[in-house]
Amino acid sequence: MNCITRLLAIVHKEVRQLRRDRLTFGMIIGIPIMQIILFGYAINTDVRHLRAGVADQAQTQLSRILVQDAQASQVIDIVVTVPTAAALEEHLRRGDIAVGLYIPPDFGSHLQHGTRAAAQLLVDGSDPVVLGAARRLAELPVQYHSLATQDTRTPLFEIRNYYNPERRSAVYIVPALIGVILTMTMVLFTSVAIVRERERGNLEMLITTPVTSAELMIGKILPYILIGLIQVSIILALGVGLFKVPIAGDLPDIYLAALAFIAANLSMGLLISTQAKSQFQAMQMTFFFFLPSILLSGFMFPFDGMPLPAQKIAEVLPLTHFVRLIRGIVLRGAEIGELFGELRALAIFTGITLTLAVLRFRKRLD
């Protein structure tokens, strides 16, 4: 027999419980707000303000007009001016700039004769959106077209795509995917770690022993570091084996970067663990951390395309720094020393979250 009262009783009970479960209620409201803001506002594939460097070896009036026009397009922001193309490449590898504008000494004569492109755009092709933006820049209508006797069919710029000349998506997706997968698994594993002991009643026994908070926290983290490194190896092996991702940098550098990143995520998980009341809550909180990591870190959308507030948030997230590290090492062949800032950011994140976790964890039940 169907009974509408019974059905409504269940609905009513469900709504009541939902209202009392503040975290779930917060997710109901919070996730759409977060998603819409992140997708609609922060994520902008129409990239502007790419960090750029200029090497102007022509130093003529025309070359200066070209630089000004490129700047005026707002696609690039010129952050460094260097003397040589080699210096541009150096900045590109470090990840300081995404685009390099190289104007050779014979810029004027190339422009006159129109035999070949007069200038070069050096592009970090490890991000496809950046590459797309550079293409738009190359098609820029520049004032001196009328001044010069250039054949309009010869492009002004020659685009030199660094690090991913074949423009295969696997090449830029796979290295950053290491970070995404580690964020997901590492935070989740540790976020339930303390909560599980609490739920199963083990914690009451454990806190009656002389074990210290720091011993408990660090002891919980250590095994997962090994698990994280195994995951890194699996993804790398598959990336190289199946998707032919070239590894330009050194393996020890990759593992060092991964180690710093794993530690950051595990500490974050522990912090969640000291806060959450149930394993389910821990998973919800993990999701809250995971979502902005995915969207803002530069894994999906280029960092340079995001407005400043989103960039500020992204700077706090470990995945942002790891995506820079891993793309730098794997794709651009950067040495870890050149990316020291990112490593330091991860270390600071780990230090703060681990300290908070140890401080938050009380050997008390109240």
Partner: protein
């Protein structure tokens, strides 16, 4: 009492959860090398008191001195000296018997040789030798309880807290369990055990009856029975179910408990001719009965105490 002979001393120990008063100004004075019981219904504050004494909960008011250490201030130092067997099985279900004991031994930083020796001893004492490879989850209630006690006593604590240790255990295992407790006590361990079984309470050297966070009575079982401010009469009648409400409605009756075909009646001691009045009352309703004046039991004390009709004895 000499302070060094005292294991636990509290004054006005109180704990609130929000507006609820879970433990209300408890004074305790528990001598060393004795078994002290907390007898009380669920929610009477037994577990909360034990947790405060272990340093797991911060008292809202009052102070506690456990093994000469002030709690919760010196709780970390205390944790080396106490063992705590939680109400719910709190070892790892997914570890084997041996792995659980090894874990606890390592947590207490026992030297390696001592660990091996101690675990072998405990496996023997608690008859777990045949179960060493079994996961804790597959153990019976009694086996789990033995494992938990083994773990709680592994580092040879001076003081053992047992929170309703026998709630999931059959009577035979309970008997054996208590024999083990007396052996531990004889070796000098102080034991604080909470229970809601009368027979267990009777085995304690001394006990406190708790109700709604307060100590309603305390002393040795004998003292409590002697000090009971009530008389006990057993009534035998053909239809106890009918007789029961009639007796309960009488003036001066504190409680009526049915035991098979008999009714056990607690009465005000100032009542004149209580047995005769009981028989008369039933006679008025055509019920023949016989009465027998009996000695109060601990259960009578408990019933009287939890109904607030007990005067604290001069103990």
């Amino acid at each position: 009492m000499n302070p060094s002979d005292t294991a636990i001393r509290t004054q006005g120990l109180t704990r609130r959860f929000g507006t609820t008063l879970a433990v209300d100004a408890i004074d305790l004075n528990i001598p060393r090398a004795s078994i002290y019981g907390f007898l009380g219904p669920n929610g009477s504050g037994k577990s909360t008191t034990i947790r405060m004494l272990c340093g797991l909960l911060t008292p809202s008011a009052g102070n506690a001195d456990v093994l000469g250490l002030s709690v919760p201030g010196q709780a970390e130092a205390l944790k080396h000296k106490i063992g705590y067997m939680t109400q719910r099985f709190s070892l790892y279900e997914d570890l084997s018997v041996r792995e659980n004991l090894q874990f606890i031994a390592e947590i207490y930083c026992l030297p390696r040789s001592r660990r091996i020796q101690r675990i072998a001893e405990l496996l023997k004492i608690y008859r777990l030798e045949d179960l060493t490879q079994q996961r804790a989850s597959s153990l019976s209630g009694g086996e789990k309880q033995r494992l938990a006690l083994a773990a709680a006593t592994l580092h040879e604590p001076e003081l053992l807290f047992l929170d309703e240790p026998t709630s999931a255990v059959d009577p035979q295992s309970r008997r054996e369990f208590w024999e083990t407790l007396f052996e531990l006590c004889a070796a000098g361990t102080t034991i604080l055990v909470s229970t809601h079984y009368m027979d267990e309470a009777e085995r304690c050297h001394a006990l406190a009856i708790l109700d709604r966070g307060r100590i309603m009575a305390d002393g040795t079982p004998k003292q409590l029975e002697d000090a009971l401010d009530a008389i006990v009469i057993e009534v035998e009648t053909a239809d106890p179910a009918r007789a029961r409400p009639l007796i309960a409605a009488m003036n001066g009756v504190l409680s009526v408990t049915q035991l098979g075909i008999r009714l056990r009646v607690l009465l005000d001691p100032h009542l004149a001719e209580p047995a005769q009045r009981l028989r008369e009352t039933l006679q008025q309703h055509d019920q023949a009965s016989t009465t027998l004046l009996t000695r109060p039991s601990l259960e009578d004390v408990f019933v009287a105490a939890t109904q607030g009709r007990y005067r604290r004895g001069e103990t």
